[in-house]
């Protein structure tokens, strides 16, 4: 089973992203992806409850294909964010949390800890758009959280530093890496697998920002054995989420 662990739905001006569920599923079929782990752009960058509820309706209509992230703009929303996570888990059955960190509103502060603790209590994965050092901070303070470092360092705030991402993931048993990124650096996945094992790496495309065929080829074209590729492309998320 192939699971894309990093997918956006909705509309986003800044990223020029616009995709509804039908478009995403058609794309998934073309790429050969069975399930999409989805975060709503509106909940991440505007009204978290409105977007999460919209996503819940899409998931209800396509429960065999979609898995939901409860998206939260910033842990600085405090109790509201924690309550939203519990609401999305209990009411909608969402299996993950998506959070963002910007230099203007960094996640490395105590306000983030209750959010991570709640997600951990609910058994939810946390997909965080963060730097390796931010993940290091979070894991030191909430080691029971299962944190996925989105882009494995491959975004501007993290200066593309996947070497650092791998080094930090090696320190923390519950810190995982996702492959979604503009970066297609030759050897990055082989290095990550050699250092961490394939069990800590999750496939993500970041579609519809990024080209999913390019992202898929990053894994399928890497010099990894078939078992490692299967784990990265879906078996790890299948196990971590306890999917049937």
């Amino acid at each position: 089973m192939i699971i894309d662990g990093h997918v956006h739905i909705g509309v986003g001006n800044y990223f020029h992203m616009k995709a509804d569920v039908d478009q995403l599923l058609r794309l998934a079929d073309k790429v050969g992806v069975d399930k999409l782990f989805v975060t709503d752009l509106g909940s991440l960058f505007y009204d978290m409850s409105e977007g999460n509820d919209r996503l819940a309706r899409d998931i209800a209509a396509h429960s065999d294909r979609l898995i939901g992230y409860c998206s939260v703009p910033t842990p600085r929303f405090g109790k509201r964010a924690v309550d939203e996570i519990r609401r999305c888990f209990e009411k909608h059955g969402f299996r993950g949390v998506k959070i963002y960190s910007h230099p203007e509103a960094p996640i490395t502060e105590p306000a983030a800890y209750p959010l991570l603790e709640s997600a951990a209590e609910c058994g939810m994965l946390i997909l965080s758009h963060t730097t390796p050092d931010e993940c290091d901070h979070l894991m030191q303070n909430v080691p029971q959280a299962r944190l996925v470092m989105a882009h494995m360092g491959g975004h501007p705030y993290a200066f593309g530093d996947w070497y650092r991402a791998v080094a930090v993931a090696k320190k923390h048993p519950n810190l995982l890496l996702d492959t979604a990124s503009s970066q297609i650096d030759n050897g990055m996945l082989e290095w990550a697998v050699a250092e961490l094992g394939p069990e800590k790496i999750l496939y993500g495309s970041d579609m519809p920002l990024l080209d999913p065929f390019t992202q898929m080829a990053k894994v399928t074209g890497a010099e990894l054995d078939d078992r490692a590729k299967s784990l990265i492309l879906g078996d790890n998320l299948h196990r971590l989420l306890g999917l049937p």
Binding site: F15, H16, M17, K30, G154, H155, P156, A158, F159, G160, D161, Y163, S182, Q183, I184, D185, N186, G187, E190, W191, M207, P208, L209, L210, D211, P212, F213, T214, Q215, M216, A217, K218, T220, G221, A222, E223
Partner: protein
């Protein structure tokens, strides 16, 4: 469908230990990914010594005739100039790549004007990577500055390498709209439907396959082009025909 990779290289990389370093490694990667020809240079020429790098590039092309097409690089340091590019073209170089950020010179300079005039005389393209590869650690050359250079040299063929998505892609389209002598390659263009959208805006005859190997996984850009929504003619043009024309092959 024949594939010609306009943006390949070999050699060492100081930022991490590349799994494939030699020209022979590159040829093996090309074989594995269905790439028949690649325009290459030695990273030695980018990183430390452009003269020695050019020698390595020519030697690698000699070892792999028909597969590796030599691309020169040069800088004003150690007396690089238009005459040197003419000499390099006469020894077999089929294009030149300029790395102003790695070689510490402005694009708006007598050196670049001299090189561009020489490239036009020898009918070889000038490729300018805005970044050496799609890694966020690198500063970028402003696409508009390449456009200004291309506007000053309408008889020179330019290939822009390195733009990614959003603002970068919009700047690329604007420059290509203003300058019919500017083409681009796709190795860093990672946005959704990026090749299809680019072709809709600038046509298929000035877009070239580049993989960025050995710094990039070549499979990514092969897949990007294979799955783009294009006609057969457009895909073939991007995969090889355009590059063959620009390289005079």
């Amino acid at each position: 469908m024949m594939r010609l990779d306009i943006n390949a290289c070999f050699g060492h990389w100081p930022y991490w230990d590349l799994p494939h370093k030699t020209a022979e490694d590159l040829v093996r990667l090309m074989d594995r990914n269905g790439i028949e020809k690649a325009a290459v240079l030695s990273l030695r020429g980018v990183l430390v010594d452009w003269r020695a790098g050019n020698d390595e590039t020519l030697a690698a092309a000699d070892r792999h005739p028909g597969r590796l097409i030599p691309m020169a690089t040069l800088s004003p340091f150690m007396d690089g100039n238009g005459d040197e590019l003419r000499r390099l073209a006469d020894t077999g170089m089929r294009g030149v790549r300029l790395y102003p950020l790695f070689h510490s010179y402005p694009l708006d300079s007598e050196f670049t004007d001299d090189v561009c005039r020489a490239a036009a005389e020898r009918r070889i393209p000038v490729m300018i990577p805005t970044r050496p590869m799609m890694n966020w650690r690198f500063k970028t050359v402003a696409i508009e500055s390449i456009g200004a250079l291309a506007a000053r040299h309408p008889s020179t063929t330019f290939i822009i390498s390195g733009p990614n998505y959003l603002i970068e892609c919009q700047a690329l389209v604007k420059v290509m709209g203003q300058c019919p002598n500017v083409s681009c390659e796709i190795s860093c263009l990672q946005g959704f439907d990026s090749v299809t959208n680019l072709v809709r805006q600038v046509g298929a005859d000035r877009v070239l396959l580049g993989t960025g190997a050995t710094l990039h996984y070549p499979a990514c850009n092969v897949a990007k082009l294979d799955h783009a929504e294009l006609s057969t003619r457009q895909r073939e043009a991007i995969a090889a025909t355009n590059a063959l024309r620009m390289l005079g092959l």
